[in-house]
Symmetry: C2
Subunit: 352 residues, 2 copies
């Protein structure tokens, strides 16, 4: 297959700027590998609220449904924070997209590249050792989607997990670990939560199918601590929806270079949503200084996981590494840099 359909949801803030660079890179990949990425743009987030009154319009959803993958920018900004929670740009678009497409598996890598260790807010004695962690987060269950409600003077939320939900995400974590450093750290609060006790049991069971991967269980509070103290101890972090939300952002903070971190949200049949780990950064939007690398690496993940184009994905990743090495980076990476968003995107596209 050489033809793929991509729904492009650029969103708000720096979303459109960095998406423009991802387009350049995808064009370069098309040319080099003889591929066609048929791209359809659609409104999402605050831009969609402003245009048609809702963060995920039906037309956007239907464009996604007709595509092989979604390349997502970023959504949200101060303009829309007053809205009701389920009408807000981020929540109002991401949660329904995850549920509609059963995107149960969220992959968020966090790395400290030794050459850029100083970007990390950790002490050099820790960050100089580098870090390479993959957070595997369950994305369609748990307290996010359980029954919830409001009484006169109270409110409740329910966290539920089934054996099937846990085992399918656990398998992803173990399979990922097999291609990495063969270690899974499963995060729970099994000293307090029944769902965590089940989580621990199921993960332990799944582990039996992966004798070459070491399994460790860790309480979420301890993990929040260990990730700061010695992130090198981790390879793959396996988390439920809520704990993964927290730890993946802590991991991103530790990496320090939000502008470099992509993410993938996948279902069981190759469909996925790909987005930068960072937000819409309204403070720097429109200035041409946002780092496009996270968006570009998200496109690389799309090629790998949804299109099976491993070689093309690697070509993008190598081009990114090359630019990093040559110092062609935005000022979030190198404060005295004079390169802008478009310079970095063009350099990566040219390197392909």
């Amino acid at each position: 297959q050489t033809r793929f359909k991509v729904a492009v949801l650029a969103g708000d803030g720096i979303g459109p700027e960095v998406m423009a660079e991802a387009h350049k890179v995808l064009n370069a990949v098309e040319a080099r590998f003889g591929l066609t990425f048929e791209r359809t743009e659609a409104l999402v987030g605050g831009a969609a609220i402003d245009a048609v009154g809702q963060p995920l319009p039906p037309q956007t959803l239907s464009i996604c449904q007709q595509s092989d993958a979604i390349l997502f920018g970023s959504v949200g900004g101060p303009k829309w924070t007053g809205l009701a929670p389920d009408q807000q740009p981020e929540r109002g678009s991401l949660l329904p997209l995850r549920k509609t497409f059963d995107l149960f598996c969220n992959l968020r890598p966090g790395q400290i590249y030794p050459a850029f260790a100083d970007l990390s807010p950790l002490h050099p004695r820790v960050s100089s050792q580098g870090m390479d962690v993959l957070c595997v987060r369950e994305l369609t269950g748990g307290i996010y989607f359980g029954e919830k409600g409001r009484g006169e003077n109270s409110a409740f939320d329910t966290q539920t997990y089934s054996t099937a939900e846990i085992s399918r995400i656990a398998r992803v974590a173990f399979e990922a670990a097999q291609k990495r450093s063969h270690k899974v750290t499963s995060i729970d609060k099994a000293n307090v939560l029944q769902t965590s006790i089940l989580w621990r049991e199921v993960v332990t069971e799944v582990a039996k199918d992966f004798p070459d991967v070491a399994l460790e269980h860790m309480y979420i509070d301890n993990a929040a601590m260990q990730l700061i103290r010695s992130p090198q101890q981790f390879d793959v972090l396996l988390c439920d929806n809520l704990f993964g939300d927290i730890l993946s952002d802590e991991l991103a903070a530790i990496a320090g270079s939000m502008g470099l971190l992509p993410s993938a949200s996948l279902n069981g049949s190759g469909f996925g949503l790909y987005e930068p780990a960072g937000g819409s950064a309204p403070d720097i939007a429109g200035q041409g200084i946002a780092n496009p690398i996270a968006q570009i690496l998200s496109a690389a993940l799309m090629l790998r996981y949804s299109f099976g184009l491993e070689e093309a994905a690697k070509a993008i990743e190598q081009a990114v590494q090359q630019c990093l090495q040559q110092g062609i980076v935005t000022r979030d990476i190198q404060p005295d840099s004079s390169y802008g968003t478009a310079d970095v995107g063009s350099a990566i596209a040219n390197a392909i």
Copy 2:
């Protein structure tokens, strides 16, 4: 009042060693201020499991009931990790104690002392600015104590919060902020959880009674990130039970000096449980090298919050500062130090 009853629950690991130093300090306070701390020791945690088969024996509970406060050491260790969750030393003692005495308010300070900034795992460009954060955690509600259960192939936990539960802990946070830097950051996940929406509403309402305190709301995932990036932005963190569990440990990790951090768990009538933030550290137990300062500062908090002995509490805190300044510290603080647990405890007691 000059006479106070203290239930002393030393527990496991380094608990008994550091508790011995707290005793020395309390003796010194008795002598200097003409006070009597009538102390009754009781079994808890693994030590209680080994002796009588349960982590919180009825006799221990009744000693606590007859006391004005509980001075708690630390519990747990590898010996007992195989037990069922609710029989384990930590969970099996702390959760029932919190519930029995309605200890709804957990206070956990986290500091970076500029003189010891290098203990922090953060980069010197961050840690050199110091840090002084107080985490106020709701301790008797939320997903810890909601309905929970197990089905054939599933499990669930319920998080509930009432207006009353939220407002009483919010008041504590605002009152604390009035004595500090007049800022409360309330942590929630109001874009996903109904309990968080209620939390945000009630906290906003309570804030009206404290016009001199600035209130800010922050999502838990962002807070986990911001705490690492720029902990200086925080004064008082107000958290529900689960988020407070995670963030207070993250805060402790950032402070770096676990051996210096006390904690207090209070109810509405002055009764409290006081314990070091760190664990039982079985790896160094019995070697006489554990840092007794967190235990000693926990005793100071007991004097302040349960006994209203502000002057005596300050005397302990000043004596601790003096030892820190003189370098009379264990090796977790100064790796080449030759002082042991007893040296530090005696020095603090002598300074009183």
